[in-house]
Symmetry: C2
Subunit: 216 residues, 2 copies
Amino acid sequence: MPTITAFKSSPDRGMGLARDMPVRWAFEEVGQPYDVRLVSFTEMKEPPHLRVNPFGQIPTYEDGELATFESGAIVFHIAESHSGLLPTDKIARANAISWMFAALNTVEPPIVERDYVKYFEEGKSWQGERFTMVDERIRNRLDQLAAWFGGANWLVGTFSAADILMIHALRRLEGSGILEDYPTFRDYIARGTERPAYKRAFEAQYAVFSRSSSSD
Amino acid sequence: MPTITAFKSSPDRGMGLARDMPVRWAFEEVGQPYDVRLVSFTEMKEPPHLRVNPFGQIPTYEDGELATFESGAIVFHIAESHSGLLPTDKIARANAISWMFAALNTVEPPIVERDYVKYFEEGKSWQGERFTMVDERIRNRLDQLAAWFGGANWLVGTFSAADILMIHALRRLEGSGILEDYPTFRDYIARGTERPAYKRAFEAQYAVFSRSSSSD
Protein backbone atom coordinates (compact mmCIF):
# COMPACT_ATOMS: atom_id res chain seq x y z
CA MET A 1 0.00 0.00 0.00
CA PRO A 2 1.41 3.47 -0.82
CA THR A 3 2.39 5.71 2.08
CA ILE A 4 2.26 9.47 1.88
CA THR A 5 3.47 12.09 4.34
CA ALA A 6 1.38 14.92 5.75
CA PHE A 7 1.86 17.63 8.39
CA LYS A 8 1.70 16.45 11.99
CA SER A 9 0.32 19.93 12.75
CA SER A 10 -1.20 21.46 9.65
CA PRO A 11 -0.76 25.25 9.53
CA ASP A 12 -4.23 25.55 7.96
CA ARG A 13 -5.88 24.01 11.04
CA GLY A 14 -7.77 21.31 9.16
CA MET A 15 -9.04 23.40 6.25
CA GLY A 16 -7.64 20.90 3.77
CA LEU A 17 -5.43 23.44 2.02
CA ALA A 18 -2.14 21.58 2.52
CA ARG A 19 -0.76 19.62 -0.39
CA ASP A 20 -1.58 16.19 0.98
CA MET A 21 -5.22 17.03 0.24
CA PRO A 22 -5.13 16.70 -3.59
CA VAL A 23 -3.21 13.43 -3.21
CA ARG A 24 -5.73 12.05 -0.69
CA TRP A 25 -8.55 13.15 -3.00
CA ALA A 26 -6.99 11.37 -5.98
CA PHE A 27 -6.56 8.16 -3.93
CA GLU A 28 -10.21 8.30 -2.86
CA GLU A 29 -11.44 8.88 -6.42
CA VAL A 30 -9.72 5.74 -7.69
CA GLY A 31 -10.43 3.67 -4.56
CA GLN A 32 -6.76 3.13 -3.67
CA PRO A 33 -6.18 2.66 0.09
CA TYR A 34 -3.15 4.49 1.45
CA ASP A 35 -1.21 5.02 4.64
CA VAL A 36 -0.19 8.37 6.04
CA ARG A 37 2.96 9.08 8.02
CA LEU A 38 2.75 12.38 9.88
CA VAL A 39 5.90 14.49 10.03
CA SER A 40 6.75 17.46 12.22
CA PHE A 41 8.32 20.65 10.83
CA THR A 42 11.61 19.49 12.35
CA GLU A 43 11.42 16.04 10.75
CA MET A 44 10.68 17.59 7.33
CA LYS A 45 14.08 19.28 7.37
CA GLU A 46 16.02 16.17 8.44
CA PRO A 47 17.95 13.77 6.18
CA PRO A 48 15.46 10.85 6.07
CA HIS A 49 12.71 13.13 4.72
CA LEU A 50 15.07 15.19 2.54
CA ARG A 51 16.21 12.02 0.80
CA VAL A 52 12.67 11.69 -0.59
CA ASN A 53 11.82 15.39 -0.88
CA PRO A 54 14.95 17.56 -1.24
CA PHE A 55 12.87 20.68 -0.54
CA GLY A 56 11.66 19.46 2.85
CA GLN A 57 7.99 19.63 1.97
CA ILE A 58 4.98 17.35 2.21
CA PRO A 59 3.62 15.21 0.66
CA THR A 60 5.98 12.46 -0.34
CA TYR A 61 4.86 9.16 -1.88
CA GLU A 62 6.48 5.80 -1.16
CA ASP A 63 5.41 2.48 -2.58
CA GLY A 64 7.90 -0.37 -2.78
CA GLU A 65 10.93 0.88 -4.68
CA LEU A 66 9.31 4.18 -5.66
CA ALA A 67 9.95 7.11 -3.32
CA THR A 68 9.02 10.41 -4.85
CA PHE A 69 7.52 13.86 -4.26
CA GLU A 70 5.60 16.91 -5.61
CA SER A 71 1.84 16.79 -5.19
CA GLY A 72 1.21 17.40 -8.91
CA ALA A 73 3.46 14.52 -9.88
CA ILE A 74 1.94 12.22 -7.27
CA VAL A 75 -1.58 12.99 -8.47
CA PHE A 76 -0.39 12.31 -12.02
CA HIS A 77 1.20 9.03 -10.93
CA ILE A 78 -2.06 7.93 -9.29
CA ALA A 79 -4.01 9.00 -12.38
CA GLU A 80 -1.65 7.08 -14.67
CA SER A 81 -1.75 3.94 -12.52
CA HIS A 82 -5.54 3.71 -12.19
CA SER A 83 -8.50 4.45 -14.42
CA GLY A 84 -10.90 7.30 -13.81
CA LEU A 85 -8.72 10.40 -13.46
CA LEU A 86 -7.48 10.86 -17.02
CA PRO A 87 -9.56 10.49 -20.19
CA THR A 88 -8.69 7.46 -22.31
CA ASP A 89 -9.05 9.41 -25.56
CA LYS A 90 -5.57 10.63 -26.54
CA ILE A 91 -6.58 14.21 -27.35
CA ALA A 92 -8.66 14.62 -24.20
CA ARG A 93 -5.86 13.06 -22.12
CA ALA A 94 -3.28 15.53 -23.48
CA ASN A 95 -5.68 18.40 -22.73
CA ALA A 96 -6.23 17.17 -19.18
CA ILE A 97 -2.46 17.06 -18.64
CA SER A 98 -2.16 20.61 -20.01
CA TRP A 99 -4.73 21.72 -17.45
CA MET A 100 -2.82 19.95 -14.65
CA PHE A 101 0.25 22.00 -15.51
CA ALA A 102 -1.85 25.16 -15.99
CA ALA A 103 -3.40 24.77 -12.53
CA LEU A 104 0.05 24.53 -10.93
CA ASN A 105 2.17 26.81 -13.11
CA THR A 106 -0.25 29.51 -14.34
CA VAL A 107 -3.22 29.76 -11.96
CA GLU A 108 -1.65 28.84 -8.63
CA PRO A 109 1.53 30.99 -8.43
CA PRO A 110 -0.16 34.38 -7.81
CA ILE A 111 -2.53 32.66 -5.34
CA VAL A 112 0.44 31.30 -3.38
CA GLU A 113 2.12 34.71 -3.62
CA ARG A 114 -0.96 36.20 -1.90
CA ASP A 115 -0.13 34.04 1.14
CA TYR A 116 3.39 35.46 1.18
CA VAL A 117 1.91 38.98 1.23
CA LYS A 118 -0.47 37.96 4.00
CA TYR A 119 1.95 36.17 6.30
CA PHE A 120 5.41 37.51 5.52
CA GLU A 121 4.65 41.14 4.69
CA GLU A 122 2.39 41.74 7.66
CA GLY A 123 3.29 45.00 9.34
CA LYS A 124 5.06 46.34 6.25
CA SER A 125 3.88 49.81 5.20
CA TRP A 126 3.40 48.49 1.68
CA GLN A 127 1.37 45.37 2.45
CA GLY A 128 -1.85 47.01 1.23
CA GLU A 129 -0.33 48.08 -2.06
CA ARG A 130 1.08 44.60 -2.56
CA PHE A 131 -2.33 43.02 -1.92
CA THR A 132 -3.76 45.28 -4.62
CA MET A 133 -1.05 44.25 -7.08
CA VAL A 134 -1.20 40.53 -6.45
CA ASP A 135 -5.01 40.50 -6.38
CA GLU A 136 -4.97 42.11 -9.82
CA ARG A 137 -2.76 39.27 -11.07
CA ILE A 138 -5.10 36.70 -9.53
CA ARG A 139 -8.24 38.35 -10.95
CA ASN A 140 -6.67 38.56 -14.38
CA ARG A 141 -6.12 34.79 -14.35
CA LEU A 142 -9.59 34.09 -12.94
CA ASP A 143 -11.22 36.34 -15.56
CA GLN A 144 -9.45 34.40 -18.31
CA LEU A 145 -10.32 31.06 -16.79
CA ALA A 146 -13.97 32.04 -16.25
CA ALA A 147 -14.26 33.26 -19.86
CA TRP A 148 -12.92 29.94 -21.08
CA PHE A 149 -15.00 27.88 -18.66
CA GLY A 150 -18.36 29.19 -19.82
CA GLY A 151 -21.04 26.84 -18.55
CA ALA A 152 -18.85 23.72 -18.40
CA ASN A 153 -18.87 21.45 -15.36
CA TRP A 154 -15.23 20.34 -15.52
CA LEU A 155 -12.06 21.42 -17.32
CA VAL A 156 -12.03 18.71 -19.97
CA GLY A 157 -15.57 17.38 -20.26
CA THR A 158 -15.53 14.77 -17.52
CA PHE A 159 -14.02 15.10 -14.05
CA SER A 160 -10.25 14.55 -14.14
CA ALA A 161 -7.02 14.95 -12.19
CA ALA A 162 -6.86 18.50 -13.57
CA ASP A 163 -10.00 19.41 -11.61
CA ILE A 164 -8.43 18.08 -8.42
CA LEU A 165 -5.44 20.40 -8.83
CA MET A 166 -7.44 23.40 -10.06
CA ILE A 167 -10.06 23.21 -7.30
CA HIS A 168 -7.29 22.82 -4.73
CA ALA A 169 -5.60 25.97 -6.06
CA LEU A 170 -8.87 27.94 -6.13
CA ARG A 171 -9.83 26.85 -2.60
CA ARG A 172 -6.72 28.63 -1.31
CA LEU A 173 -8.62 31.86 -2.11
CA GLU A 174 -11.38 31.06 0.40
CA GLY A 175 -11.54 33.93 2.88
CA SER A 176 -9.86 36.40 0.51
CA GLY A 177 -13.17 37.84 -0.71
CA ILE A 178 -12.12 37.25 -4.32
CA LEU A 179 -14.13 34.10 -5.06
CA GLU A 180 -17.34 35.94 -4.17
CA ASP A 181 -17.00 37.81 -7.48
CA TYR A 182 -16.83 34.56 -9.47
CA PRO A 183 -20.03 32.49 -9.29
CA THR A 184 -18.48 30.22 -11.92
CA PHE A 185 -15.80 29.11 -9.47
CA ARG A 186 -18.10 29.07 -6.43
CA ASP A 187 -20.21 26.51 -8.34
CA TYR A 188 -17.15 24.65 -9.66
CA ILE A 189 -15.63 24.31 -6.19
CA ALA A 190 -19.00 23.16 -4.83
CA ARG A 191 -19.27 20.49 -7.55
CA GLY A 192 -15.82 19.22 -6.59
CA THR A 193 -16.18 19.36 -2.83
CA GLU A 194 -19.57 17.62 -2.92
CA ARG A 195 -18.00 14.52 -4.43
CA PRO A 196 -17.93 11.62 -1.95
CA ALA A 197 -14.21 11.09 -2.63
CA TYR A 198 -13.45 14.71 -1.73
CA LYS A 199 -15.48 14.41 1.46
CA ARG A 200 -13.65 11.26 2.55
CA ALA A 201 -10.28 12.90 1.86
CA PHE A 202 -11.30 16.04 3.71
CA GLU A 203 -12.50 14.09 6.74
CA ALA A 204 -9.27 12.09 6.84
CA GLN A 205 -7.08 15.18 6.94
CA TYR A 206 -9.45 16.92 9.34
CA ALA A 207 -9.18 13.98 11.73
CA VAL A 208 -5.41 14.58 11.92
CA PHE A 209 -6.05 18.18 12.93
CA SER A 210 -8.71 17.22 15.50
CA ARG A 211 -6.44 14.67 17.14
CA SER A 212 -3.44 17.00 17.18
CA SER A 213 -5.42 19.91 18.64
CA SER A 214 -7.10 17.78 21.30
CA SER A 215 -3.66 16.62 22.45
CA ASP A 216 -2.29 20.20 22.62
CA MET B 1 4.27 18.50 -38.40
CA PRO B 2 3.45 20.17 -35.05
CA THR B 3 3.19 23.96 -34.97
CA ILE B 4 4.01 25.99 -31.89
CA THR B 5 3.55 29.68 -31.23
CA ALA B 6 6.26 32.08 -30.07
CA PHE B 7 6.54 35.84 -29.48
CA LYS B 8 6.80 37.97 -32.64
CA SER B 9 8.90 40.35 -30.49
CA SER B 10 10.36 38.53 -27.55
CA PRO B 11 10.65 40.75 -24.44
CA ASP B 12 13.95 39.04 -23.58
CA ARG B 13 15.56 40.24 -26.83
CA GLY B 14 16.72 36.83 -27.97
CA MET B 15 18.09 35.51 -24.67
CA GLY B 16 16.01 32.35 -25.01
CA LEU B 17 14.18 32.87 -21.72
CA ALA B 18 10.65 32.80 -23.19
CA ARG B 19 8.66 29.61 -22.82
CA ASP B 20 8.94 28.53 -26.43
CA MET B 21 12.60 27.75 -25.65
CA PRO B 22 12.08 24.55 -23.56
CA VAL B 23 9.64 23.29 -26.19
CA ARG B 24 12.07 24.00 -29.04
CA TRP B 25 14.83 22.30 -27.04
CA ALA B 26 12.68 19.20 -26.47
CA PHE B 27 11.84 19.01 -30.20
CA GLU B 28 15.53 19.25 -31.08
CA GLU B 29 16.52 16.56 -28.56
CA VAL B 30 14.14 14.02 -30.12
CA GLY B 31 14.72 15.12 -33.72
CA GLN B 32 11.13 16.19 -34.35
CA PRO B 33 10.82 18.98 -36.95
CA TYR B 34 8.32 21.71 -36.04
CA ASP B 35 6.79 24.88 -37.41
CA VAL B 36 6.57 28.15 -35.52
CA ARG B 37 3.81 30.72 -35.88
CA LEU B 38 4.82 34.09 -34.46
CA VAL B 39 2.15 36.03 -32.59
CA SER B 40 2.07 39.67 -31.52
CA PHE B 41 1.01 40.75 -28.03
CA THR B 42 -2.29 41.87 -29.54
CA GLU B 43 -2.89 38.55 -31.31
CA MET B 44 -2.19 36.64 -28.07
CA LYS B 45 -5.19 38.31 -26.44
CA GLU B 46 -7.57 37.69 -29.36
CA PRO B 47 -10.14 34.86 -29.67
CA PRO B 48 -8.26 32.58 -32.13
CA HIS B 49 -5.26 32.34 -29.78
CA LEU B 50 -7.38 32.28 -26.60
CA ARG B 51 -9.26 29.27 -27.93
CA VAL B 52 -6.00 27.31 -27.67
CA ASN B 53 -4.48 29.10 -24.66
CA PRO B 54 -7.17 30.68 -22.45
CA PHE B 55 -4.48 32.68 -20.62
CA GLY B 56 -3.22 34.42 -23.75
CA GLN B 57 0.32 33.12 -23.43
CA ILE B 58 2.85 31.40 -25.64
CA PRO B 59 3.64 28.67 -26.51
CA THR B 60 0.71 26.71 -27.86
CA TYR B 61 1.05 23.34 -29.60
CA GLU B 62 -1.09 22.24 -32.54
CA ASP B 63 -0.82 18.94 -34.38
CA GLY B 64 -3.80 17.59 -36.25
CA GLU B 65 -6.71 17.42 -33.85
CA LEU B 66 -4.60 18.27 -30.81
CA ALA B 67 -4.45 21.95 -29.87
CA THR B 68 -3.03 22.52 -26.42
CA PHE B 69 -0.90 24.74 -24.21
CA GLU B 70 1.44 25.11 -21.17
CA SER B 71 5.14 24.66 -21.86
CA GLY B 72 5.53 21.98 -19.18
CA ALA B 73 2.69 19.94 -20.63
CA ILE B 74 3.98 20.36 -24.18
CA VAL B 75 7.47 19.21 -23.17
CA PHE B 76 5.85 16.24 -21.43
CA HIS B 77 3.77 15.46 -24.53
CA ILE B 78 6.89 15.50 -26.69
CA ALA B 79 8.72 13.33 -24.15
CA GLU B 80 5.85 10.84 -24.03
CA SER B 81 5.55 10.66 -27.84
CA HIS B 82 9.25 10.07 -28.56
CA SER B 83 12.07 8.21 -26.91
CA GLY B 84 15.01 9.92 -25.25
CA LEU B 85 13.51 12.42 -22.82
CA LEU B 86 12.04 10.12 -20.17
CA PRO B 87 13.70 7.01 -18.73
CA THR B 88 12.06 3.73 -19.74
CA ASP B 89 12.49 2.24 -16.25
CA LYS B 90 9.22 2.86 -14.37
CA ILE B 91 10.83 4.12 -11.16
CA ALA B 92 13.22 6.46 -12.94
CA ARG B 93 10.39 7.70 -15.18
CA ALA B 94 8.21 8.58 -12.17
CA ASN B 95 11.16 10.39 -10.59
CA ALA B 96 11.79 12.37 -13.78
CA ILE B 97 8.14 13.43 -13.84
CA SER B 98 8.39 14.50 -10.19
CA TRP B 99 11.35 16.68 -11.13
CA MET B 100 9.41 18.19 -14.04
CA PHE B 101 6.71 19.31 -11.61
CA ALA B 102 9.32 20.38 -9.04
CA ALA B 103 11.07 22.59 -11.60
CA LEU B 104 7.82 24.37 -12.45
CA ASN B 105 5.97 24.38 -9.13
CA THR B 106 8.71 24.54 -6.48
CA VAL B 107 11.89 26.01 -8.01
CA GLU B 108 10.50 28.39 -10.61
CA PRO B 109 7.81 30.41 -8.75
CA PRO B 110 10.16 32.56 -6.62
CA ILE B 111 12.38 33.05 -9.69
CA VAL B 112 9.41 34.35 -11.69
CA GLU B 113 8.39 36.48 -8.70
CA ARG B 114 11.81 38.13 -8.87
CA ASP B 115 10.89 39.41 -12.35
CA TYR B 116 7.72 40.94 -10.91
CA VAL B 117 9.83 42.78 -8.32
CA LYS B 118 12.22 43.90 -11.04
CA TYR B 119 9.73 45.10 -13.62
CA PHE B 120 6.53 45.93 -11.77
CA GLU B 121 7.86 47.27 -8.49
CA GLU B 122 10.49 49.55 -10.02
CA GLY B 123 10.35 52.96 -8.40
CA LYS B 124 8.59 51.65 -5.29
CA SER B 125 10.29 52.64 -2.04
CA TRP B 126 10.18 49.00 -0.96
CA GLN B 127 11.66 47.39 -4.08
CA GLY B 128 15.01 46.80 -2.35
CA GLU B 129 13.41 45.12 0.63
CA ARG B 130 11.33 42.93 -1.65
CA PHE B 131 14.43 41.87 -3.61
CA THR B 132 16.01 40.81 -0.32
CA MET B 133 12.93 38.78 0.63
CA VAL B 134 12.45 37.04 -2.71
CA ASP B 135 16.18 36.38 -3.12
CA GLU B 136 16.12 34.62 0.24
CA ARG B 137 13.31 32.39 -1.01
CA ILE B 138 15.26 31.65 -4.20
CA ARG B 139 18.51 30.92 -2.32
CA ASN B 140 16.69 28.64 0.08
CA ARG B 141 15.45 26.55 -2.86
CA LEU B 142 18.85 26.61 -4.58
CA ASP B 143 20.61 25.55 -1.35
CA GLN B 144 18.27 22.57 -1.03
CA LEU B 145 18.64 21.65 -4.68
CA ALA B 146 22.44 21.96 -4.58
CA ALA B 147 22.62 19.78 -1.44
CA TRP B 148 20.56 17.12 -3.17
CA PHE B 149 22.45 17.41 -6.48
CA GLY B 150 25.86 16.67 -5.04
CA GLY B 151 28.14 15.75 -7.92
CA ALA B 152 25.44 14.46 -10.27
CA ASN B 153 25.31 15.50 -13.90
CA TRP B 154 21.53 15.41 -14.33
CA LEU B 155 18.47 15.25 -12.11
CA VAL B 156 17.69 11.56 -12.62
CA GLY B 157 20.86 9.88 -13.81
CA THR B 158 20.58 10.51 -17.54
CA PHE B 159 19.51 13.72 -19.27
CA SER B 160 15.71 14.04 -19.29
CA ALA B 161 12.81 16.41 -19.87
CA ALA B 162 13.19 17.44 -16.21
CA ASP B 163 16.61 18.93 -16.97
CA ILE B 164 15.13 20.96 -19.83
CA LEU B 165 12.59 22.55 -17.48
CA MET B 166 15.00 22.97 -14.55
CA ILE B 167 17.78 24.53 -16.63
CA HIS B 168 15.25 26.85 -18.25
CA ALA B 169 14.05 27.98 -14.80
CA LEU B 170 17.61 28.48 -13.52
CA ARG B 171 18.66 30.41 -16.62
CA ARG B 172 16.10 33.07 -15.71
CA LEU B 173 18.48 33.99 -12.86
CA GLU B 174 21.25 34.96 -15.27
CA GLY B 175 22.19 38.57 -14.55
CA SER B 176 20.81 38.48 -11.00
CA GLY B 177 24.19 37.75 -9.43
CA ILE B 178 22.71 34.76 -7.60
CA LEU B 179 24.01 31.95 -9.81
CA GLU B 180 27.58 33.13 -9.21
CA ASP B 181 27.29 31.67 -5.68
CA TYR B 182 26.34 28.24 -6.99
CA PRO B 183 29.09 26.57 -9.03
CA THR B 184 26.91 23.43 -9.08
CA PHE B 185 24.32 25.22 -11.19
CA ARG B 186 26.82 27.14 -13.30
CA ASP B 187 28.22 23.75 -14.34
CA TYR B 188 24.78 22.19 -14.71
CA ILE B 189 23.54 25.01 -16.96
CA ALA B 190 26.75 24.76 -19.00
CA ARG B 191 26.26 21.01 -19.49
CA GLY B 192 22.74 21.67 -20.75
CA THR B 193 23.46 24.64 -22.97
CA GLU B 194 26.44 22.91 -24.59
CA ARG B 195 24.18 20.18 -25.97
CA PRO B 196 23.80 20.45 -29.76
CA ALA B 197 20.00 20.31 -29.41
CA TYR B 198 20.02 23.29 -27.04
CA LYS B 199 22.25 25.24 -29.42
CA ARG B 200 19.95 24.60 -32.40
CA ALA B 201 16.92 25.64 -30.35
CA PHE B 202 18.69 28.76 -29.12
CA GLU B 203 19.77 29.76 -32.63
CA ALA B 204 16.24 29.28 -33.96
CA GLN B 205 14.69 31.58 -31.36
CA TYR B 206 17.56 34.05 -31.69
CA ALA B 207 16.95 34.25 -35.44
CA VAL B 208 13.40 35.47 -34.72
CA PHE B 209 14.80 38.25 -32.57
CA SER B 210 17.46 39.19 -35.16
CA ARG B 211 14.89 39.43 -37.93
CA SER B 212 12.42 41.40 -35.81
CA SER B 213 15.04 43.86 -34.63
CA SER B 214 16.49 44.43 -38.10
CA SER B 215 13.01 45.27 -39.36
CA ASP B 216 12.34 47.72 -36.51
